[in-house]
């Protein structure tokens, strides 16, 4: 039969190949342009943190622990008793150094945190200094009443009136100052809590960290909350790996939350941070 040898028509051999190639090209283009999950993700820092931890931990170990821990520990223990306000805030502020008799005795003047508690414990030494500071309305009226009383008394005895006036004004001053200080302190501690929470959410704890260690870190801030440069460790937790983790976490959470009350903001922040704490 000749049909065996028949050359059969084979339509579109090349056409089919080209069409198939075109089909796949189309699919490839479609996938290329439609499948772009997470084009840019700011999670790069996280990975670096994990991978670089062991290498960084080793060299830093020697320097931090020795001197500051022993020096500083006694200080907070001595200070806390005097302040009447409720909680000791996490944040302390670098203010123009006030005359502070107690710390000066100590060998190290440079770390002079916790200026807040001072006014209450020692009002006697500097009543005159305080007067020029702004006085709120409430104390003012109060002082007027005092003053009227004083007018009556004035006739009686000048010295006693003088004494009373000084006493009263100082008292009012103290109250006002305590109130302002309290509000400020609350705002500051709220801010400190916010910052601590943010850092805590970014920290990668090294294995073996336990207890409730506490670190004092100096952070330079821009007004928008971003951290300038590297944070400095002022007081170590005693665990170098944990210290490194804290510093990395601070850099990573860089735009730190801003305080609710802008007046609380300071550029150089000393943060007491408890990585494992409450």
């Amino acid at each position: 039969m000749p049909e065996h040898a028949l050359k059969r028509p084979e339509p579109g051999k090349w056409q089919s190949a080209v069409l198939a190639a075109g089909m796949h090209l189309l699919l490839g283009l479609f996938l290329f342009y439609s499948v772009r999950w997470q084009t840019s993700k700011p999670a790069a820092v996280q990975v670096e943190l994990i991978s670089s931890m062991p290498t960084v931990a080793a060299p830093v170990r020697p320097p931090p622990p020795p001197e500051p821990v022993v020096e500083k520990r006694p200080e907070p223990v001595v200070e806390p008793p005097p302040p009447p306000p409720p909680a000791k805030p996490d944040i302390t502020f670098k203010e123009p150094p006030k005359p502070k008799p107690v710390p000066k005795v100590e060998p190290k003047p440079e770390p002079k945190p916790e200026p807040k508690p001072k006014p209450e414990p020692k009002p006697e030494p500097k009543p005159v200094e305080k007067k020029p500071e702004p006085q709120p309305a409430v104390p003012d009226t109060r002082r007027e009443i005092e003053a009227q009383e004083k007018m009556l008394k004035e006739a009686m005895a000048r010295e006693s009136a003088e004494q009373a006036k000084r006493e009263a004004s100082r008292e009012a001053d103290l109250i006002a100052q305590a109130a302002a200080e309290g509000a400020r302190r609350n705002a500051a501690s709220a801010w400190g809590d916010k910052i601590s929470a943010r850092i805590r959410s970014n920290i990668v704890l090294p294995p073996g960290a336990s207890g409730n260690p506490e670190a004092l870190v100096a952070i330079a801030l821009l007004p928008d909350g971003s951290v300038v440069g590297e944070p400095r460790l002022k007081r170590s937790t005693g665990n170098p790996a944990l210290d490194d983790a804290i510093l990395r976490a601070i850099v990573k959470s860089s735009p730190l939350p801003k305080p609710d009350d802008p007046s609380v903001f300071v550029r150089n922040l000393d943060l007491v941070f408890r990585p494992l704490g409450q």
């Binding site: 039969m1 028509p9 089919s16 069409l19 290329f32 999950w37 840019s40 990975v47 994990i50």
Partner: protein
């Protein structure tokens, strides 16, 4: 593992492990071949159908069988399946009819056998490579799944080296691995659809050819005695 890298399809494929890459390459090859045969078969089936239509029209328009046979025999390379069936049957019939001691029934039987043989050859030609589409449709999802399972195994094994296991560390690996399944499905779905459609089309064409064979046998039977004498 670098997370900041964007997960475009290219990087997904490039980051996959060797075995997964091989699976993907195999699947892309299979997919290409299956599309090639889809196009070729669809051209072939369309051509066969249009030729069958054309020949049926010519045949039933009442032309001379001899003239029809001549034109089919002259242009056999471009002839459709039905034309070839007709040609084979008519050739066998005329050959047998020329013999002395052969009656019409035997000649028609011979013509029928010749037509049957040609019919089977033609249908076989039309059905060739359909099996490839069928096995692509059934097997390539499994191949893709194999690549995916392997890739996911690797992704999870990578977790053991990290202290903190997060989703971000497995996600890229899993996404890479799933690309294999996606390619497998892309190869399989059109193959299955095309296979079903082509099988149906070929069935219909072969039924037309078969009924033509029966009708043509009747015609030969009718015309046999007159011509034989």
């Amino acid at each position: 593992m670098n997370l900041s890298e964007d997960l475009s399809i290219i990087s997904l494929i490039m980051n996959a492990s060797l075995l997964v890459k091989l699976v993907m390459a195999l699947l892309i090859g299979i997919s290409f071949m299956s599309w090639y045969w889809i196009f070729r078969k669809s051209f072939a089936i369309r051509g066969a159908r249009s030729r069958t239509d054309k020949f049926e029209l010519e045949f039933w328009s009442g032309g001379d069988l001899n003239a029809l046979f001549q034109s089919a025999a002259n242009d056999r390379h471009n002839a459709g399946g039905m034309e070839r069936i007709f040609e084979a049957g008519y050739r066998e019939f005329t050959k047998l009819r020329g013999r002395q001691n052969i009656d019409t029934a035997t000649a028609v039987d011979g013509a029928r056998r010749a037509m049957r043989a040609t019919y089977q050859r033609e249908v076989d030609e039309l059905e060739s490579h359909l099996a490839f589409l069928a096995s692509t449709g059934s097997v390539s999802p499994y191949i893709g799944l194999f690549g995916t399972v392997w890739g996911i195994m690797n992704a999870f094994r990578g977790l053991s080296n990290v202290g903190q296991a997060t989703l971000a560390q497995v996600a890229p690996g899993i996404a890479e691995a799933l690309v294999a399944t996606a390619i497998g499905l892309f190869a399989a779905i059109p193959a299955v659809v095309a296979y079903n459609r082509f099988a149906h089309d070929i069935d219909r064409i072969s039924i037309r050819w078969e009924s033509f064979m029966e009708e043509f046998s009747n015609i030969l039977q009718r015309q046999g005695p007159g011509k034989a004498q």
